[in-house]
């Protein structure tokens, strides 16, 4: 394949998009789709189309977000609105082809909302009438393109942002643009991305390194996996721009080994990018040279923490080290290292392409842009949602996700993963921003959102989260290692109906020591789910005490 230049990409952007000449059927084949049985559906579609000699293309695509309705199949007939089918079986898939072969209308059953009905898409014209709540910047191509075809990415404006940056912007310009945009780290803590980029760029070292943190591990969270699987080039393009800005020649994707499909797709994307002159020496014919390697995480949650991630990348035991020095000053191999989350990087190309002004107007206040959540638990439509920040929890839970899956009312929502907290139903009108969630005793986190109804047991739930942290504690520092274990023992005692008043005090005392004296976020945050449960649902704990038993 030819190595592309800036001019090639500019020409591609200017050229009119060829209209599709035959129907395209897209099958959601990310992990969620495959788990629901997308592979036999895909095979049924291709076999049936061949058997009936129907002229069409069956394509793979990523996660469209409606994971509870997988396998999803979208039929796009030229000149018509796309039709989405959910929970498709191979038999039903054959009936779709049969209808098309017979020139009949598409089946009316098993319909699901199309992506256009679900969300606005960054860079696409705004429709008329009621705008959907969702706004897809990060997920703009998920469920839309074949993630294994670089051409499909480029047909939707892919690598135009890189071309623009390399041909018209200095690293300082990019940082300035990022500052105006106000993008904050999407891994959880919300550190301003522009500042991280600036600090790393200004650090002195033999070389600068950029790392994409794909060690997503919060229970119920799979946003990053879906983006890596559904639109790997978008993450790579963000990394290329970041590499250019900090003066890096080397980047690493650190992806947990439990994400084989994400790894496979990123590796394929890297091969395609190399073949097209988008990676390697003299990218797009410029002076910018940059290489990327993939490294796998070995299953430790704590390796999502920056310093532990670096240790793991270096082949050492994955345990956190004190900060300072921050990775931006002294990171991988002692060199200035910028670690960005998958979702953060997936935003970059869109900010550069559509401008900081555009981005900063999405969201609210200091929480600009969108946030992707993996909404699971007791909702009708579990899946991925991407919303402009400032949207309320209720809009997500009851609006987008259809509210309680049962007749039982929603009781609480958990955000922020094992370092986050429970938010009671009474607070559902809270807007989703970094600051508002912290006020409630939870935090943004990476995007896990677990919805509970009145049948869910809060004590058991806090135990679940604490147990997760106890099992994932690296064991390095005493407050986390021992404090977590002891707290879990006390909590189990309460859950088993053997607790006393003093045990609740002990939990609070241990929690304070863990929060104040643990070295890293895992230990500091581990008591949060229990503390927030106590804050809003203390009577449930008291009701379980030995003295409270009837």
């Amino acid at each position: 394949m030819a190595r592309l230049t800036i001019a090639d990409l500019q020409a591609r952007a200017a050229a009119p998009k060829p209209a599709p000449d035959k129907p395209v059927i897209r099958v959601g084949m990310s992990t969620c789709g495959l788990a629901a049985g997308a592979e036999p559906v895909f095979n049924a579609l291709t076999e049936e189309a061949a058997a009936r000699k129907v002229e069409l293309r069956v394509a793979r695509t990523g996660c469209a977000g409606m994971c509870s309705m997988e396998p999803l199949v979208e039929v796009q007939v030229p000149g018509q609105a796309a039709v989405m089918f959910g929970e498709v079986t191979p038999e039903f898939a054959r009936s779709i082809i049969a209808a098309m072969a017979a020139g009949k209308p598409l089946p009316a059953e098993s319909r699901a909302p199309s992506i256009a009905q679900l969300a606005r898409i960054a860079g696409e014209p705004v429709g008329t009438g009621d705008e959907p709540i969702q706004y897809r910047i990060v997920m703009r191509n998920c469920g839309v393109i074949d993630p294994e075809e670089i051409d499909e990415y480029m047909d939707r404006g892919g690598y135009q942002s890189l071309a623009k940056v390399l041909s018209t912007m200095s690293p300082e310009d990019v940082i300035e643009e990022m500052k105006t945009a106000g993008l904050r780290g999407r891994g959880g803590a919300g550190f301003p991305a522009w500042l991280k980029w600036k600090l790393t760029r200004e650090s002195v070292g033999d070389e600068h390194i950029i790392v994409c943190n794909g060690d997503e591990g919060d229970p119920g969270a799979y946003m990053d996996r879906s983006v890596l699987e559904g639109d790997p080039h978008a993450v790579l393009e963000g990394m290329l721009i970041g590499g250019y800005v900090i003066g890096a020649k080397q980047g690493y994707f650190y992806i947990r080994a439990e994400y084989p499909l994400a790894i496979q797709r990123i590796e394929k994307a890297l091969r395609q990018a190399r073949a097209n002159g988008l990676l390697g020496n003299n990218i797009l014919g410029t002076d910018f040279s940059f290489n990327v390697e993939v490294r796998l995480g070995a299953g430790a949650f704590v390796c999502g923490e920056e310093t532990a991630l670096i240790a793991s990348l270096e082949g050492k035991r994955g345990t956190p080290t004190p900060r300072p020095p921050y990775p931006s000053v002294k990171g991988l191999w002692g060199q200035p290292t910028m670690i960005n989350n998958v979702e953060s990087l997936a935003n970059i190309s869109q900010i550069m392409l559509h401008g900081a002004e555009w981005f900063s107007k999405i969201g609210v206040g200091r929480s600009s842009g969108t946030k992707v959540f993996a909404v699971t638990g007791q909702v009708k439509h579990a899946g991925l949602v991407e919303i402009p920040m400032g949207v309320t929890l209720r809009q997500v839970v009851e609006g987008i996700c259809g509210g309680s899956a049962s007749d039982t009312p929603i009781k609480a929502v958990q955000t922020g993963g094992p370092s986050g907290g429970l938010i009671p139903a009474s607070e559902l009108d809270t807007p989703i921003t970094y600051e508002d969630l912290i006020k409630l005793g939870s935090f943004m986190g990476s995007g896990g959102m677990i919805v509970m109804d009145e049948n869910d047991d809060i004590v058991e739930l806090s135990k679940f989260y604490l147990k997760f942290c106890v099992e994932e504690s690296c064991g390095k520092c005493a407050p986390c290692r021992i404090g977590g274990t002891q707290m879990l023992r006390v909590l189990t005692k309460i859950a088993d109906g053997n607790g006393t008043e003093a045990d609740i005090a002990t939990i609070r005392r241990l929690a304070r020591a863990m929060q104040k004296a643990s070295l890293c976020g895992l230990g500091q945050g581990a008591p949060n789910p229990v503390l927030s449960a106590l804050r809003y649902f203390e009577p449930e704990f008291r009701g379980r005490l030995a003295s409270g038993k009837n």
């Binding site: 080290t321 004190p322 504690s473 064991g475 520092c477 005493a478 407050p479 021992i482 104040k516």
Partner: protein, 581 residues
């Protein structure tokens, strides 16, 4: 310099200083269980938390650099409350076995628990049931007592470059063990005992041999012989409240006699003998065209073990001399036994060493039984000696100084400085100078060999030729020197040095793994100063001037490097596998 305040007190520190360092400067004590002055902060215990400004967060003093204008609070009710809770957490996973622990009354965790007045730990005791590892018979690892501070791993990996110890498992199951969860004896462990010297609790201690010594002292058929290593005399006092570095040679002799030893010798005599043999070996190599140089010293058993495991290509450079304690042992059961009409099988030799590795050295090969029996029967550390003195009811402050027994007791200043890094080199140079020129150097002090710099280099002009030497201590410093030697060897060029001394422990034997706890560079320097003082005040300062050394050659050994010497005083080396599994 950076200006900040600690508890309202102004403090000025160099850039990069931690809060912990700054606090010391203004006499503020911040408790910690994991930070050791020798080592980088591991940030493992969470005890040293402080507050900056009015912040709600707490930071670890051990690893937080002082920034300009920082307003640091080291104590407030909440800080103390959190510290106490963390301490209780640690205690909940630590066995309540203080009374039977090797660190009883000398334990950093115990001290902190006492300071905080912990009377009761509400939390369940969750000590796991894990086996002891005493496979090395030199150090004993009890993972139940470990608070996973990581000091031992740091010293084993970063300072000693041995990498025997690591963390295994994770979370609450995290424990220290050789990588792969093998035993220490199967691991690359060189038994230097630096892990035990740095451990804040009783998780790693020396293997205790005191009982077998008591048993032999009780046995009327046994003729018990003691020998005292150079570095022990300037450290033993720390166990009795003497100022650090006080030379207690005469009191130690007296104490050993009161314990029941029939003869009390000095390893320093063995050191003089080592110098006779080693200087002879050096001069022979130095003056014979085509000999393998540099010659490398072999007094240190951990270094020998390390070399055999990691650097066996250097075996041709190794001095074949046994260590001083081995020489004294060999002569006690031959020369001395013959003279005294003793049955060597009934002579029981105990060496008191600053070292845990000596426990292994005495049985490391058949050559350690050159007398027909094991030349040394038991090797005890300074810490064990202190306990034996206390058990004997000896008032170590009041006991009068005594002299050693003759034949293997008297020593020179050259022998005594063996206990400090560079001492063997300095002593050897004094005698080599004499062997080459026929007279002693006008100044016997070779300052370039002294001090705590990790690698020391110098040269001395002997008969118009520059003898280039290097001294390394702390095994982590060895690689640099050996790389230089190998590069020259492989290039076929002149070696960078003629003579190299290596001691495994930082500071040499004064900082040995069997010495009293709490070692820092300040202590190492004071202990070494005690030895240099002993050297300066001695009657003889060169090993060859020791009349008892002259006598042993005249009456028994013949010439240095001669046949009898070779049989009794020399050994050989062999490449050994790093891992035994």
């Amino acid at each position: 310099m950076i200006l900040a305040t600690i508890n309202g007190l102004p403090v000025e520190v160099p850039a990069g200083s931690t809060v912990l360092q700054a606090a010391r400067q203004v006499a503020v004590h911040i408790p910690t269980l994991c930070k050791h002055p020798d080592l980088d902060a591991t940030a493992a215990c969470g005890i040293c938390i402080v507050r900056v400004g009015g912040s709600n967060k707490m930071l670890r003093a051990c690893c937080t650099p002082v920034e300009s204008g920082m307003d640091i609070t080291t104590e407030d009710p909440e800080i103390i409350h959190v510290r106490r809770t963390v301490l209780e957490m640690i205690m909940s996973k630590h066995p309540n076995e203080c009374l039977t622990c090797g660190r009883n009354q000398n334990c950093e965790l115990q001290t902190l628990a006492a300071d905080f007045g912990i009377r009761n730990v509400d939390l369940d005791n969750i000590v796991p049931d894990l086996p002891l590892d005493d496979t090395t018979k030199a150090i004993v690892l009890d993972p139940r007592k470990c608070i996973t501070c990581g000091r031992c791993i740091q010293v084993c990996q970063q300072i000693q470059d041995v990498w025997a110890l690591s963390f295994v498992e994770r979370g609450i199951d995290t424990r220290i063990a050789p990588a792969g969860d093998i035993t220490l004896a199967e691991s690359p462990c060189v038994r230097c005992g630096q892990c035990s010297a740095h451990c804040p609790t009783g998780a790693i201690v020396e293997y205790d041999n005191t009982q077998e010594v008591w048993d032999n002292l009780l046995d009327p058929d046994m003729f018990c012989v003691a020998q005292l290593a150079p570095a022990v005399r300037v450290a033993i006092g720390e166990a009795f409240g003497f100022p650090v570095g006080t030379n207690l040679t005469g009191k130690s002799y007296a104490a050993l006699r009161r314990m029941g030893f029939n003869a009390v010798f000095d390893t320093n005599f063995g050191a003089d003998l080592t110098i006779m043999e080693e200087a002879t070996e050096f001069v022979k190599r130095y003056t014979t065209e085509g000999s393998v140089l540099p010659l490398i010293t072999t007094c240190c058993p951990s270094w020998v073990d390390f070399m055999e495991k990691f650097h066996s290509d250097m075996i041709p450079n190794f001095s074949s001399c046994k260590s001083p304690q081995a020489m004294v042992g060999a002569l006690a059961k031959t020369y001395y036994a013959e003279k005294m009409g003793l049955d060597p099988a009934k002579v029981y030799v105990v060496s008191f060493m600053p070292c845990t590795a000596k426990k292994f050295e005495i049985i490391r090969s058949k050559e350690m039984a050159s007398s027909g029996q094991w030349d040394v029967d038991a090797s005890l550390t300074t810490r064990e000696l202190a306990r034996m003195i206390k058990q004997s009811g000896i008032n170590f402050h009041a006991v009068k100084e005594e002299q050693p027994d003759q034949m293997l007791g008297a020593y020179t200043g050259a022998g005594t400085i063996f206990g400090a890094t560079g001492g063997v080199m300095e002593a050897a140079l004094r005698t080599a100078y004499n062997f080459i020129t026929g007279s002693n150097p006008t100044r016997v002090e070779f300052q370039a060999t002294r001090g705590l710099e990790g690698i020391k280099e110098g040269s001395v002009n002997i008969a118009g030729n520059e003898v280039r030497f290097a001294v390394a201590h702390g095994l982590g410093n060895v690689e640099t020197l050996l790389t230089r030697v190998r590069e020259a060897r492989d290039a076929g060029t002149e070696p960078p040095y003629h003579f190299i001394e290596v001691m495994a422990c930082d500071g040499g034997c004064v900082g040995g793994g069997g010495q009293p706890y709490g070692v820092t560079d300040g202590l190492r320097a004071k202990r070494a100063a005690g030895l240099y003082q002993d050297d300066q005040s001695g009657l003889w300062r060169c090993s060859h001037d020791n009349p008892y050394i002259q006598a042993v050659y005249r009456d028994f050994l013949g010439e240095p490097g001669g046949e009898k010497s070779h049989h009794l005083l020399h050994t050989s080396y062999t490449a050994r596998p790093t891992y035994k599994r």
